[in-house]
């Protein structure tokens, strides 16, 4: 059942070529948001090496921006760890959709887990590999290209951010648009609209109650609770869905 990946140049290039178009929205977002991060790193007196190093090893957008303040006015490591845990807690939910898929990826599995950002999670759900393409390599290149975009943006921002004259205001809307496209697709293809409605309403409620900076954890808590409560009804609907495929 484990098909080994064929590491042949032709197969690799084909997968890379198929994966690239799917990642263009993330290219836009990561390059420019990464540059914003690089500029901040440079502003606190660290150089492009640090910008690239942080983006390569952490690879988590919002956490890296929060981290800037830790680097600027240092605090205890325990506190750093706790804040990271809370900010990135949502990632714990992402993996459960990919238990089987990543298991099949063999040696690439740790890297796939390491690079599972919001945007990569979204692309892995929406991008469909063409028939003649190795699916595992296709998924790998989506993750890998996103990682490269993020590192490149950070390094470029730290190096040249201060000389940037192109008005890039608003370019990060590419990320909003990416999520909107995937929501639209899932809305039209999924057998039940309840998960999307629950997700949207839970997040709006959390936004109103907890404000923009603390909304994710309560939102995920409400989502998981409601989805577990409605399991008897919804499980039947998704079974019909997978049979229909």
């Amino acid at each position: 059942m484990h098909n080994e990946i064929k590491w042949e140049v032709k197969v690799i290039i084909k997968a890379l070529k198929a994966a690239f178009p799917a990642t263009i929205p993330v290219l836009l977002g990561y390059l420019f948001v990464g540059m914003a991060f690089g500029i901040l790193v440079e502003n606190i007196g660290l150089d492009y090496f640090w910008a690239g190093f942080i983006s390569a090893t952490v690879f988590a957008g919002s956490m890296q921006f929060i981290m800037i303040s830790f680097l600027k006015s240092p605090i205890g490591l325990l506190e750093v760890g706790l804040v990271t845990l809370i900010v990135n807690l949502r990632h714990m939910v992402y993996g459960i959709s990919f238990l089987e898929e990543f298991k099949r990826m063999g040696k690439l599995k740790p890297y796939m887990i390491f690079t599972l950002t919001d945007e990569t999670y979204a692309l892995l759900h929406s991008a469909k590999p063409p028939d003649n393409i190795d699916k595992k390599l296709f998924y790998f290149f989506i993750a890998f290209l996103n990682h490269i975009y993020w590192i490149s943006g950070s390094v470029l921002g730290a190096l040249f951010g201060s000389m940037l004259s192109f008005n890039s205001k608003g370019v990060d809307f590419a990320m909003v648009a990416l999520f909107a496209v995937i929501c639209t697709e899932q809305w039209t293809s999924f057998s039940t609209h309840w998960p999307a409605l629950i997700g949207g309403l839970a997040t709006l409620l959390s936004l109103l109650v907890f404000g923009p900076d603390r909304l994710l954890i309560p939102a995920i808590f409400i989502i998981i609770t409601l989805l577990l409560m409605t399991k008897p009804g919804l499980e039947k609907k998704i079974q019909e869905n997978s049979e229909g495929e």
Binding site: L28, N88, I96, L99, F114, V176, L178, V181, Q186, I223
Partner: protein, 111 residues
Amino acid sequence: MPQIESNPINIVLVVAAVTFFTRIMPFLFFDSNKNAPGSVIYLGKIVPPAIMAMLLIYSLRNVAPLKYPYGLPELIALSTVILLHLWKKNNLVSILSGTVLYMFLVQKIFS
């Protein structure tokens, strides 16, 4: 009292390690769907549309509907993305057109 840390490398390593931990958590508990409880497998299937809706709203969390420009650039660009996507069903066309439109709106119209 925890010791105050001023070496960047220690901070970076802690953030990197904890971030990776949050990502690997489910894989540490469940090797595959075979040894995962039914409710986890169910969540794995049902949670993506809910999380996508969450991420969409999260990405718009700083829009202020009561202050100028009242979230209008977001509303206009977002509607364009969704309608374009329902019509053309092409990810790139929808995302790039929406982004260019949004940049034009915030830079030229509502600047």
